[in-house]
């Protein structure tokens, strides 16, 4: 990797790898006679979190909660309306910060649809080399690294390097996408539903591979999924999103064992029981998630929440539950002095 300047650890081990502050993205909806903006999809609204070096942050939520939009905003595949992203101490896109081009070398993404992510007309070795060539690495060196990476993700280079995406199975294609993401020696990998489309028996292989690569390449992961079992297995901390807002964040064992937001509780109890003698008897929630166009005012979950009170018409802030600032929840019922009848005494 001699052609690339050293992008590794600049801020030291205590500097979070990623700090996201007040990220917001509204997508305008145009209509009417003059094609004016008539509404907006509030896809991501005031989202703040940080990712520590070497950890795996899981992001869970249902469709429309903004988890994929968050990922795209981090990669700058779309521009945020408001908000700041700091990568290892350097503000993204700022004068004295890190450029988007450099950021994309340090941060890579793997998508859900393994076939759509690859150019169908390129042999996979060329797909893996493409980003390196774009970043100025010579042809021979890029090809050699691509073959090395193929071996690292478990695809024998001599058999696979010249194949086209349609000649591979879904699991193999996802391995190629992971190899390509690693080609520029990134530090942060965003895995957006990266194992969701795979069969269960193949999913386990890819999860094992991700664990191996994380250790071998000293990686940090943001793992986005709707599958709570997978997130529990792979994550150190988990962030729960609902309609564009963060409702709860904390260490994965703590959040799963003792969820504090009513939505997190509902999501966890919606998981199948896996025991034919103790089947789920009551659905934890009724109805579908509301449309992110014109979401409920105040707490966005209050239209489906069993504990909603008048005070919930005011949006709650994400508040730490313990002094160590590990587990935070955005719910009046958990915030002392909020006025909610179930709130803890201050």
């Amino acid at each position: 990797m001699s052609a690339l300047p050293d992008t590794r650890d600049r801020g030291g081990p205590n500097q979070p790898l990623l700090i996201v502050t007040s990220l917001r993205k509204y997508f305008p909806i145009r209509g009417g006679l003059l094609n004016r903006q008539v509404a907006s999809v509030q896809a991501v609204d005031d989202v703040s979190f940080s990712v520590r070096k070497g950890e795996t942050l899981g992001i869970v939520g249902e469709s429309g909660c903004g988890k994929s939009t968050t990922a795209r905003l981090l990669m700058r595949l779309i521009e945020p309306d408001v908000g700041q992203v700091v990568f290892d101490g350097e503000a993204v896109g700022a004068q004295d910060g890190i450029s988007v081009r450099d950021l994309r070398r340090s941060m890579q993404m793997v998508f859900q649809d393994s076939y759509a992510s690859l150019n169908p007309r390129l042999p996979i070795e060329s797909s893996i080399s493409f980003g390196q060539r774009f970043q100025g690495i010579g042809k021979v060196e890029a090809a050699a690294r691509s073959r090395d990476l193929l071996a690292r993700v478990g695809l024998e280079p001599n058999r696979f390097a010249q194949r086209y995406p349609h000649e591979l199975s879904g699991g193999q294609r996802q391995r190629v996408n992971i190899a390509r993401a690693l080609a520029l020696d990134p530090r942060l990998l965003i895995l957006d539903e990266a194992v969701s489309a795979l069969d269960k028996s193949v999913e386990a292989q890819v999860l094992n591979l991700l664990a191996d690569l994380k250790a071998a390449f000293d990686l940090t992961y943001i793992f986005i999924s709707h599958d709570l079992n997978v997130v529990r297995y792979i994550s150190d901390r988990v962030m729960v999103m609902y309609l564009g807002k963060v409702v709860e964040i904390g260490p994965v064992d703590q959040v799963y064992a003792n969820p504090r937001h009513p939505y997190t509780s509902a999501l966890l109890s919606a998981m199948p029981s896996m025991d034919p003698d103790h089947r789920t008897e009551q659905p934890p929630l009724t109805g579908d998630p509301p449309n992110p166009i014109n979401p409920p005012s105040g707490c966005r979950f209050r239209t489906r929440c069993a504990f909603a009170e008048d005070v919930c018409a005011v949006a709650p802030a994400l508040t730490a539950l313990d002094p160590a600032d590990e587990h935070a929840v955005s719910c009046h019922r958990e915030t002392a002095g909020s006025g909610h009848s179930g709130a803890p005494a201050s």
């Binding site: 249902e62 469709s63 199975s169 879904g170 699991g171 193999q172 069969d199 269960k200 028996s201 193949v202 999913e203 386990a204 292989q205 999860l207 094992n208 664990a211 709707h226 709570l228 079992n229 997978v230 529990r232 297995y233 792979i234 994550s235 994965v252 509902a266 999501l267 919606a270 998981m271 199948p272 029981s273 896996m274 025991d275 034919p276 003698d277 089947r279 789920t280 008897e281 009551q282 659905p283 934890p284 929630l285 009724t286 109805g287 579908d288 998630p289 449309n291």
Partner: protein
């Protein structure tokens, strides 16, 4: 007599690709069978073959599918058409594709009621209204006049269940009915299906890749792989004491309850391509216990008792 008796069902695509191989099972009235399998295992094709919904020019069907004593595979198109939707109904993974986008939900349900029961348009619409209530769609009166795109995913799936139940079928075929739904909606639809199945005494065959879904709803489970049923039995037997190496591997590789940091016990390799599968055990290439005898000749069924069936040489042999 069983409600449904399937014997030697084989489906062949384009003359040579055997996607369903010697599938046999019976289903009692009011029973729920879940066919559990990964993509390409032949589970959806099996379901469609029961209703003869596969394109005729490219598909060869053989075997017998006796429903109420009559063979659906030998029946004329006209007879079959009158049974589809009346005695046997089907729901799909993507309700947005199953509804016609240019007619209202109410009209589409009423049309089916009229077609099979010969009632007046007004009576049919009244029945449609009752059906929307039955599947717990709020403000049913208004939703009758809604077009499919105006409903959310969960509501559309409820509406499709209403459509399927419109003629009180004895058998409901469900092809991954909750796969496209969010977690909190999926459990609602599963519980709804379970309640309706019980109240209406309807038999159900549900196809899924999700073990969790199977456990929530099944009386019996059939594990399918490479076009064959590898193992069948009651939901308790299959979940607690899986016998086939594939079933064991499948449960071991699901992350449910797995400890973070520990490696998952993955099944090596990929699911087979049906076009390349020969005789012998379809799982042989990925099986840790494989022996030379597993290949070449088809594996006989082993019945350890009850209605349990396992198709593995190594399970049937004395220890």
């Amino acid at each position: 007599m069983s409600l449904l008796e399937v014997q030697g069902l084989n489906v062949t695509f384009r003359g040579s690709v055997r996607v369903v191989r010697d599938v046999a099972f019976s289903l009692e009235a009011g029973e729920v069978l879940v066919i559990l399998g990964e993509s390409g295992s032949g589970k959806s094709v099996t379901l469609k073959a029961l209703m003869r919904l596969l394109p005729r020019a490219k598909t060869k069907l053989s075997g017998t599918v006796e429903f109420d004593g009559q063979d659906l595979l030998a029946m004329g198109e006209g007879d079959l058409a009158s049974r589809r939707g009346r005695d046997i109904a089907m729901i799909f993974q993507e309700p947005a594709l199953a509804f016609d986008p240019v007619f209202t939900i109410g009209r589409q349900i009423a049309e089916t009621v009229q077609r099979h029961e010969g009632v007046s348009p007004d009576a049919a619409m009244k029945r449609a209204r009752e059906l929307l209530d039955l599947v717990q769609i709020p403000s049913a009166e208004r939703r009758l006049k809604a077009y499919p795109h105006e409903l959310s995913g969960g509501m559309r799936q409820r509406a499709m269940i209403a459509l399927a139940l419109s003629c009180r079928p004895k058998l409901l075929l469900a092809d991954e009915p909750t796969t496209a739904l969010d977690a909190t909606v999926q459990i609602q639809i599963l519980l709804l299906l379970r309640r309706l199945q019980r109240e209406l005494g309807m038999a159900v065959i549900l196809v899924t890749h999700d073990v969790g879904v199977a456990v929530e709803i099944a009386d019996r489970i059939a594990v399918m792989y490479g076009g064959r049923f590898l193992e069948t039995g009651s939901v308790r037997d299959i979940i607690r004491t899986p016998m086939h190496p594939y079933t064991k591997g499948l449960f071991a590789s699901t992350v449910h309850g797995a400890v973070r940091g520990e490696r998952l016990e993955a099944i090596p390799g990929n699911p087979p391509n049906p076009a390349e599968l020969g005789a012998g055990c379809g799982f042989a290439d990925r099986c840790r216990l494989v022996e030379p005898e597993c290949r070449g000749t088809d594996i006989a069924e082993y019945r350890p008792g009850g209605d349990r069936m396992v198709r593995c040489r190594l399970v049937g042999e004395p220890a």
